[in-house]
């Protein structure tokens, strides 16, 4: 048995995103990523990302769409749904661009995490990928939580009911993304 020195398949990057090899990047067609409104006010969406080596998380980011409004929150959760770090309620600003938030440097060991993203309104937009049906999003490991703005200390994962699988967000091991 070759465990535990099993070779990694995913190349470890310094930018950990829902849409690169750490998230859905090898399973979804990112060419279909478009600006779209948030489905439900104060809903949080949790999307799995995985890292094969420890990373010192220094920034959180998300990808605003064509319209910004109200406040967003982005955070990192462990596999059990416990919040590790988050931006806190942050005015959404800048269209068609990454919005970045400095966080206290946070060491994450290798493993599975969830990127949490929430918005307090349905006017603001994010770049995100729709796969057409909720069950495809469920199969990707996406879960959600109602009335979860700002992001709670402990997530309660509920079955995902929207057709948007991947909102572009993540964290960086570098200060400059």
């Amino acid at each position: 048995m070759d465990w535990p020195s099993y070779p990694p398949i995913v190349g470890q990057g310094i930018i950990i995103s829902t849409m690169n090899q750490h998230g859905f990047g090898q399973m979804l067609d990112g060419a279909n990523t478009l600006s779209g409104t948030w489905n439900t006010s104060n809903r949080a969406v949790y999307m799995p990302v995985r890292i094969s080596e420890p990373v010192l998380a220094r920034k959180l980011f998300w990808f605003n769409g064509a319209t910004v409004s109200g406040n967003a929150d982005c955070g990192i959760y462990d596999a059990a749904g416990t919040k590790i770090v988050s931006a806190g309620s942050t005015a959404q600003s800048g269209t068609n661009a990454l919005q970045e938030v400095d966080i206290a440097d946070t060491l994450l060991d290798a493993g599975l995490f969830y990127m949490g993203l929430a918005l307090d309104n349905t006017t603001g937009t994010f770049f995100r990928l729709s796969v057409g049906t909720a069950y495809r999003a469920q199969a990707m490991g996406t879960v959600m939580q109602a009335t979860a703005f700002p992001l709670p200390a402990a997530a309660t994962f509920a079955a995902y009911t929207d057709t948007v699988t991947a909102y572009v967000c993540g964290f960086s091991g570098r200060v400059v993304i």
């Binding site: 048995m1 465990w3 535990p4 020195s5 099993y6 990694p8 490991g141």
Partner: protein, 184 residues
């Protein structure tokens, strides 16, 4: 760093064929990957046939739920399971009435630890009226080359699988949910 002790790919919370550690590094489909945005509803290829597709686990995992994505029509019974590399069944749902359309059907199972290494996810159906969401990979040979197998007359899923050459162009959307998750 080649000797880094944690240089493995942690599993995603949901196992299925679209993972890079399953068919996605092996198959040719849409572009270079088997994209999950392309499945469609289709009848099961043959009554009582079981399909098997490989997944490589880097670490032990605990399975809490087995699931499959029903298509536009539900009929008869489905069985979903996991086998080891030698074809020994590790767990399965047993024959389960197919219920619900265009949605995931899930079955809670006794939490079961699966050791690292090569495993096979398996799905079988006892009729050709019910539908599953699936991807076609071009032809059956593509499925063969990706490591898929089949077994005729294998409903409910047998305790020991006899892997035969894959003759279907059919990758089912089905798999397992891993602890600590219990909600898919």
């Amino acid at each position: 760093m080649t000797t880094w002790p944690r240089a493995y790919v942690p599993p995603m919370p949901v196992l299925h064929a679209w993972l890079p550690e399953s068919l996605n590094n092996l198959a040719f489909g849409t572009g270079s990957s088997l994209m999950i945005n392309t499945p469609g509803s289709a009848v099961w290829p043959s009554a009582n046939v079981a399909l098997f597709w490989p997944v490589r686990l880097a670490v032990p995992v605990t399975v809490t739920v087995l699931w499959w994505a029903n298509g536009a029509t539900a009929s008869g019974n489905v069985d979903c399971g996991i086998y080891d590399a030698e074809g020994n069944r590790l767990l399965s749902t047993g024959s389960t009435a197919q219920t619900g359309t265009t949605a995931i059907q899930s079955v809670n199972v006794t939490d079961t630890v699966i050791p690292p290494g090569l495993i096979y996810l398996a799905l079988a159906m006892d009729n050709v009226t019910g539908t599953i969401n699936r991807v076609v990979m071009g032809n059956a040979t593509a499925c063969q080359l990706a490591g898929m197998h089949q077994q005729a007359t294998a409903f409910a899923l047998p305790a020991t699988a006899t892997f035969a050459a894959m003759a279907q162009n059919y990758v089912p959307m089905a798999g397992a949910l891993l602890s600590p998750r219990t909600v898919i």
